[in-house]
Subunit: 197 residues, 2 copies
Amino acid sequence: MAKVTTNMSISLDGFAAGPNDSVDGLHDWLYELSSWRERHGLDGGTSDVDAEVLDEAFRNVGALVMGRRMFDLGEQPWGDEPPFHMPVFVVTHRAREPKVCKGGTTFTFVTEGFEAAVPQAREAAGERDVAVAGGPDVIQQALNAGLLDEIQVHVVPLLLGDGQRLFDNLRARVELERIRVVEAPSGVTHLRYRVVQ
Amino acid sequence: MAKVTTNMSISLDGFAAGPNDSVDGLHDWLYELSSWRERHGLDGGTSDVDAEVLDEAFRNVGALVMGRRMFDLGEQPWGDEPPFHMPVFVVTHRAREPKVCKGGTTFTFVTEGFEAAVPQAREAAGERDVAVAGGPDVIQQALNAGLLDEIQVHVVPLLLGDGQRLFDNLRARVELERIRVVEAPSGVTHLRYRVVQ
């Protein structure tokens, strides 16, 4: 069966965002990668281990689930052609008509909560995986609901000291099984785990 | 020059202890290791990658700095022959005569704060490194004082959800340089960083 996965950059002290939603160096490893640039409609970039990890993270994904806050922060900068190129289900309290964008991204607004968004995303993804795009609150909901199958964290070599922690508000201890470690020359370490349900 | 280092087991969500100082599975990877057993006066055990990482972590250490809480929690279970076999400087507000134990461990109580303990430990260590033994509060003091040269975290594959975070109360962003990754078959990932001062 298709999986529900997530991929997040975190500092070694576990922050997925700095204070006031700043990114604060957390995503610098991405911007020059060929696979990041390709998703953003740009040519060139470096094709290295990080680029392969990023490409692979989306290769088998057929739909995304996203939190309202991530959508609100992103809608304007993403512009006419957001870098997702697939159906995105936004968990929100505000009903809104679906938004169809260039390049294959469609935003569907789900007002019945995270647990209602997952089956819709699964249906849209077909045989492919569903990825929880974030923010951290939505990933925490996925963990608390027992709906996340795999987590990959991209551990960036810095201590932010403040911000929004990826793993917070968990209601119970979660056992993990490490699946893979990639030690990228950039200093980022990609750790992938299966959630033991 | 000799370094100030630290080694801590953490869950993927960054806890170095569970609620109420419980260890909660964080140190299970240690107990059967030959190098852990040897330090505790026991024979046998497994000699694998984890055992080598643990052995190496102490091989060049000549003295320890320890927080009062770790000492208070440990004093009784450690018994007559604590597993340190070197001078230990305990940062505390309560003056006390040094305690000399079997097997080479001596506890010296430093009442002038963490920053006074480090030079004393350096002097005792001579050419060798000083290790900050914990708990997390003392490691945070070391980071905030700019006195930590290297950090190795042993990332255990679980999310504890609650407890005492290793990296908390940091006063400023800290840049790190990843030195090494060891992917142990146990599922523990050993990540070693240099602190960029």
